[in-house]
Amino acid sequence: MTFVLQNIVDAISLGALYALTALGIGLIFGIMRLINFAHGELIMLGAYALFFTFGMHEAIMGLVAMALVIATAIVMERVAFRPLRRANPATLLIASFALAYFLQHLVLLIFGARPKSVTFLHELSGFFVVEGLRIPKLQVVTIAITIVLLVGLVVFFRRSSIGTQMRAAAEDFGMARLVGVRANSVIAIAFLLSGVLAGIISLLYVVQTGTLTPRMGVSLVLVAFVATVIGGMGSLVGAAVGGLVVGVLTVALQAVLTVELRPYRDAFVFAVLIGFLLVRPQGLLRGRSARERI
């Protein structure tokens, strides 16, 4: 029983991390049809910002990391993607790869290839012990932050004017402009939000692993991308659900697979996902923006 509960908590917290990453990617895709692979590098930059500011007050470390990630997200849009806005999605995708490599190598140049380690919010590495169940504090915090962010995003999209404008733009960008929605504003805000999400993941990730490499964002963003596809491209709820599903699947396989097979866990994860896409290529929830217009 304890084993099962432990795994459920693991699954939800990993799923939450994936869901937040997938949301960051889904947000930009919904508005721009851009799959921003450089989203992982935003997370990586946040982690290096923590490394760089190590020794300062932890609140300052966190704020600097968040500020850097958000600023980079906004600059990224302004410098790399805005000039390509009329280009086709393939061009945008290639641009995001170029940007990802550029940022990786920039960090490589400054900090070198050797993994760095940094301690951040060490007090979160403890456990809550409930009825013999040892729940890492970090997992509780991760889940709580994810819930707060999800609720916040839902309220933002449903209740605020700019949120409604973003939903409209995600559905039909041309028509949104015709009613007066400013393309530059909604896209800039989408990047700002994706920066906030990436920054928070940076912090959570560093607390969890404490190690950073210039390529640390790559696998996370790949998994998150798969999660958005599973959830249904163009649906934000889908992205969050997809992230959760992939997290749960990963932890479930970790628990079920024999010791010899465990190193190949990710191969099993992706095999299941490929199987899923064969059966349901449109994903769990089909995004409105992916639908054909009549």
Partner: protein
């Protein structure tokens, strides 16, 4: 109010509009009719800033507007109800109406305008909380017009409002158009089905293969020899 001069629109090598000059005075209802592919939508899209102008000029209230972004043209007083309505299906009916006002600064007057749109199209009132994608074609057309009105346009461009609608619904749409003129809105309608557009408009331009081949009031045009030919596009094939 609006004047185009030798307006050309091209898509790659394809010429959609080959030098169109037309004028619309304030408070006029003007229609542009013509067969499928004559360039009617290109004309409206060029005026609304959706497609780039290859050459020629567009003047609105005395100022050149060619090349201005659609979101800025809304702020200048030009709204387009595009072909196919393009309502936001995932937003509620109420959200669709209200999003029409994003360009406005006079926040206080918006509620009153929403009420006026609902008075004009009472069917929308019962469905305010529903996703707009669930509306019928006619309701969507009304919603699209209502959404455009929330921007308080001085010039309203309507592309094929009767397309795919039952005759009774078309009548309701045209009744709304007449009401709008009474409120001081200038209207440019594009239609493939000529009869309604001819009746509703003060003047009509006949467009064929990207050029204006005829212009005038309904009676004048009907009297004119070759009107039927031009309308059905035979003339267009003559070199």
């Amino acid at each position: 109010m609006l004047a185009t001069e030798d307006l050309r629109v091209t898509y790659g090598n394809i010429l959609a509009l080959g030098g169109v000059s037309l004028r619309i005075e304030e408070r006029e209802i003007v229609s542009v009719i013509g067969p499928n592919g004559a360039g009617k939508s290109s004309l409206l899209n060029a005026i609304a800033g959706v497609v780039p102008v290859a050459s020629g000029s567009i003047e609105f209230e005395g100022q050149a507007i060619a090349g201005t972004a659609p979101e800025d043209l809304v702020r200048r007083g030009i709204s387009l109800v595009p072909e196919g309505r393009h309502i936001f299906g995932g937003l509620t009916v109420a959200e669709n109406i209200r999003i029409g006002a994003v360009a406005r600064r006079d926040r206080g007057a918006i509620d009153g305008d929403v009420d006026r749109v609902l008075a004009m199209f009472p069917v929308l009132r019962e469905r305010l909380r529903q996703p707009a994608g669930k509306l019928s074609g006619g309701e969507q057309q009304m919603l699209a017009i209502g959404r455009a009105l929330l921007a308080r346009p001085r010039l309203l461009l309507i592309d094929e409002p009767s397309l795919g609608l039952a005759p009774l619904v078309v009548s309701e749409v045209y009744r709304a158009v007449a009401d709008l003129r009474a409120e001081g809105v200038t209207i440019l309608i594009v239609e493939q089905s000529a009869t309604r557009a001819l009746e509703a408009a003060d003047r009509t331009y006949v467009l064929a293969s990207g050029s204006i081949v005829m212009a005038g009031g309904a009676a004048e045009l009907r009297a004119e020899e070759g009107f039927e030919d031009a309308y059905f596009g035979y003339k267009a094939r003559d070199p």
